[in-house]
């Protein structure tokens, strides 16, 4: 295409956007909201995933060893635990260590409890983390079976990770539906915006047809208008998202001091967010304008 034609097309699409004032602003706002909601959900999931990964050790199992077992026996139990499938890590906590840990936690409150006792009152233990949380239960049952080999007790924390996993799935579920609805709303508004732009230029289009303008030449400004809506929406959505994220990260979390979760820096994902916004925004713009031009495409 000639350079002149290209500037003409882009000029036309800007003009169209301008002439269509209210509708253009409406479609930009709707698409922008759609993108921000999507981005927010996406970032929540991203952070959840990361927090889940670090919460993984909640899913550890502690195996206590019979008090009367010797060091060699304890060691061989440890080795057979390591050989079980789905075992990621086995940490040995000796009687002495257990004693020190407990003392550190409780001595201040119950000083008399630790008087005249030593480490022998504590059992040695292994803390096991599993590779795949989905098969946590199988590993636990395997360990329960080792009770006749000197394991006295198998203790595990409530399935915290599983709960978080299901929260994540719930978020994804809501997110998907929300997205679908918002996408169709955006599409609908863009379709109507472009329809209006087309009706505004009905006479021009009819004359263009008479003098032999090609369909592409007639339609491209409208497609460009859709793309423009997409670009403006996604770039503004990106900056709003960045601001929102920073706001939540700094003020909100600082104020309520939520230590349990950590928030990943926006910089890690900014190009992904911008790229996704642009891709979705432009895609919606093209699809929306194409749909509204469909019936105009015959000669």
């Amino acid at each position: 295409m000639r350079r002149y034609s290209l500037t003409y097309l882009i000029g036309q699409s800007f003009k169209g956007l301008w002439r269509n004032g209210v509708m253009s602003v409406a479609s930009i706002l709707v698409l922008l909201s759609c993108l921000i909601v999507m981005g927010t959900f996406g970032l929540i999931i991203y952070n959840l995933n990361d927090n889940l990964a670090s919460l993984g050790d909640l899913n550890s199992i502690t195996v206590f060893i019979d008090m009367e077992k010797t060091d060699e026996e304890i060691q061989s139990i440890g080795e057979s635990i390591s050989r079980l499938s789905n075992v990621k890590n086995v940490e040995y906590i000796s009687k002495a260590e257990a004693f020190e840990r407990q003392k550190a936690i409780y001595e201040e409150e119950y000083p008399y409890f630790f008087q005249g006792v030593d480490e022998t009152i504590y059992p040695a233990s292994y803390v096991i983390t599993c590779d795949d949380n989905a098969h946590f239960e199988e590993l636990r049952l395997e360990l329960e079976k080792m009770k006749d080999q000197g394991v006295s007790k198998v203790r595990y924390l409530a399935d915290a990770a599983e709960t978080l996993e299901s929260i994540k799935n719930g978020v994804i579920y809501i997110f998907t539906w929300f997205m679908a609805i918002l996408f169709f709303v955006s599409l609908f508004v863009i379709i109507n915006t472009i329809k209006l732009a087309v009706s505004y230029r009905k006479q021009e289009i009819s004359i263009m047809r008479y003098v032999g303008a090609t369909n592409w030449f007639i339609m491209l400004p409208f497609i460009f208008e859709g793309i423009l809506i997409g670009i403006i929406s996604s770039v503004s959505a990106f900056f709003i998202q960045m601001y929102l994220y920073g706001f939540i990260e700094s003020s909100f979390l600082a104020e309520y001091n939520i230590r349990l979760v950590h928030i990943l820096p926006f910089d890690n994902v900014k190009y992904i967010v911008l790229g996704a916004f642009l891709a979705i925004g432009i895609f919606t713009g093209i699809v929306g304008s194409s749909i509204s031009l469909r019936k105009n495409l015959k000669a």
Binding site: V211, G212, T214, F217, A299
Partner: protein, 226 residues
């Protein structure tokens, strides 16, 4: 060269607008199409513009067989034609020059060519001094001349005008017809004019094709009505 061979046009509602029409028009001819209301004159024009497709028969314009022309080739075919309507169809918010240049921009002509060509065309229709005026500042005759300038903008070989003087009083009608004749003679363009105006047709003594009820009932050179 235009060749209607046994052309019929039946509209979707069943109206037979043209019925087995045979008509040959050579390059450079000037032809009046006349006939009562509903005779099929505008339908004939719509077929030539490929706004409507023939129902049966064959319609050739130069190397284009319109009954077989695919949609994507239609724009290129239409660049051979210039159209003028009774109601001018000018853009009220565009100046005279912009109305003309619009036709050139619409087919992607370069700005340089447009700048050079628009004044030349306005000169042909005698509106070189009105380039910057807007249609509402012009008389009906001048507005129709702008429409003719637009029709000429892409240098078509064939001009089709559907009642170009229908909205004009007699003096201005004569002026427009004179201009069409001049374009036909000096630029050697084929010109087809659909009209109701007997005295104009008689005045110019050109070929006259009379339609009635979708048929050609008369085809002769010279005055039709007198």
């Amino acid at each position: 060269m235009i060749d209607f061979e046994n052309v019929s046009k039946v509209y979707p509602n069943g109206t037979v607008a043209l019925d087995g029409l045979n008509l040959h028009i050579d390059d450079g001819e000037f032809v009046f199409i006349v006939g009562a209301s509903g005779a099929g004159k505008s339908t004939l024009m719509k077929l030539l513009l490929r706004e409507e497709k023939v129902t049966s028969g064959s319609l050739r314009v130069d190397e284009f067989e319109l009954s077989k022309l695919s949609n994507y080739k239609v724009p290129y075919y239409r660049r051979r034609l210039g159209v003028v309507f009774q109601d001018f169809r000018l853009f009220q918010n565009k100046s005279v020059a912009e109305n003309v240049s619009f036709a050139m921009r619409a087919i992607g002509e370069p700005a340089k060519l447009i700048r050079r060509r628009v004044p030349a065309i306005l000169n042909v229709v005698g509106l070189q001094d009105k380039a910057k005026n807007f249609p509402r500042e012009l008389s009906g005759g001048e507005q129709q001349r702008v429409a003719m300038a637009r029709a000429l903008a892409n240098n078509p070989g064939l001009i089709i005008a559907d009642e170009p003087t229908g909205n004009l009083d007699p003096m201005l009608s004569l002026e427009i017809m004179n201009l069409l004749i001049r374009i036909n003679k000096s630029k050697n363009k084929t010109v087809i004019v659909i009209t109701h105006e007997k005295n104009l047709v008689d005045h110019f003594q050109q070929r006259v094709v009379t339609l009635n009820d979708g048929h050609i009932v008369d085809d002769r050179v010279g005055g039709m009505f007198g």
